[in-house]
């Protein structure tokens, strides 16, 4: 196992492409959890996120010959997962239009209007579901994953200016959606 931990992504990718299918398990183990939080916050459910991560890992294997730089497998896998998250979201929106955010988060009357952290967290999670996929993504990458705008720009291919515009619209939308929970 020690040797396995030292093989670089590029080495493992090349070994798999040369026919050593079992080596792919190294990459699966390495990346199983790395993007799990991103997928969970994008899709709103750990179980759905798990499906998405699994699908992305399988798709990454199928398309391994397309990975232009084996040393950058991580970023390439992330993009596959990102697409998968967007597709999942589109599918769910077709099947089930989102219910209004107040469903199930009815606020008991409190004099000072304050909520404990957990309820606010739940309310925010539900509100995130009402953002566009791009707004949700920039919010998750910046405020959950802690990335700077420049890094998000590199990863998503959008410009910093358009990302900020998206994010600022998201802030306003979230404020509106969360107005019962401040």
């Amino acid at each position: 196992m020690g040797l396995e931990a030292e093989a670089s992504d590029a080495d493992v990718v090349r070994a798999v492409l040369a026919g050593d299918v079992e080596r792919y398990a190294v990459l699966v183990r390495r990346y199983r959890d790395r993007y799990a939080r991103f997928a969970t916050r994008m899709l709103g459910s750990r179980d759905i996120a798990e499906d998405a991560v699994q699908d992305a890992l399988v798709r990454a294997y199928d398309r391994l010959a397309d990975c232009r730089d084996p040393a950058k497998f991580a970023g390439w896998l992330f993009l596959i997962l990102r697409n998968r998250c967007f597709a999942e979201r589109r599918r769910r929106q077709r099947e089930r239009p989102l219910s209004p955010v107040d469903d199930g988060v009815a606020a008991p009357d409190r004099p000072d209007g304050a909520y404990d952290q957990l309820e606010r967290q739940r309310a925010l999670e539900q509100s995130l579901g009402h953002l566009t996929a791009e707004q949700r993504e920039v919010f998750v990458l910046k405020h959950v994953e802690g990335m700077a705008y420049e890094e998000i720009a590199q990863v998503t291919g959008a410009t910093v200016a358009s990302l900020k515009m998206r994010m600022h619209r998201a802030y306003d939308r979230l404020r509106d959606l969360m107005r019962g929970h401040q």
Binding site: A18, Y24, E50, D62, R68, E125, D172, Q182
Partner: protein, 216 residues
Amino acid sequence: MIAGYHPLVKQVLDGELSLADLPPELRAEAEEAVRLVQAADRAPVILSSAVEDRVMAVVRGHAASPARRAWRWINAPRDIELRLRVRPWVLWGGALAAAAVLALLLTRPTSSPGPETRVASRDSVLVRFVLYAPGARRVAVAGTFNQWDRSAAPLVPAGTSGVWTTTLALPVGQHQYAFVVDGERWVVDPGAPAVNDGFGRRNSLVAVTAHGTRAL
């Protein structure tokens, strides 16, 4: 419809300003905004340990029939002897230098099958590349499917017969490629159609269909 946040408040959220930088009348709004954003769930997520088994089970299924057939072919010495017997000029070669190998590859009739395709998944197909290059120290295949990177897809020797092979998962569509012998000699696949590459050399063609049928 509630008003949006003040632009300066948004800059605090973006991390470009601190609360202390704001005029007093905006502090309350900023604190509300920060509370909202900080409500995001940042806990790391650990997925089930079964993920690895599930993924590898599917991956093995995708690799299964075609790759196993390819490996069986590679490891069957009898098959390879038959191939050599059919082409007597190969036996005369003896220990061939790379240059001589090239001459053979360019002049012998195209009786080898070229790349072989099998279905791997919905939209990619496993394609097996084969090159006979007994004097080579290393062989790779480079093409439009891997940005012509000559280290991305090395071939491995199939026993000691001088045959090199690899299997790649390629997307459906048409691809151009060539073999790279010893890191610097670009060689077309004698079993495939060839087109001008625009640089005075030739590239080989492989067309991959969704049905995995062998097509050029």
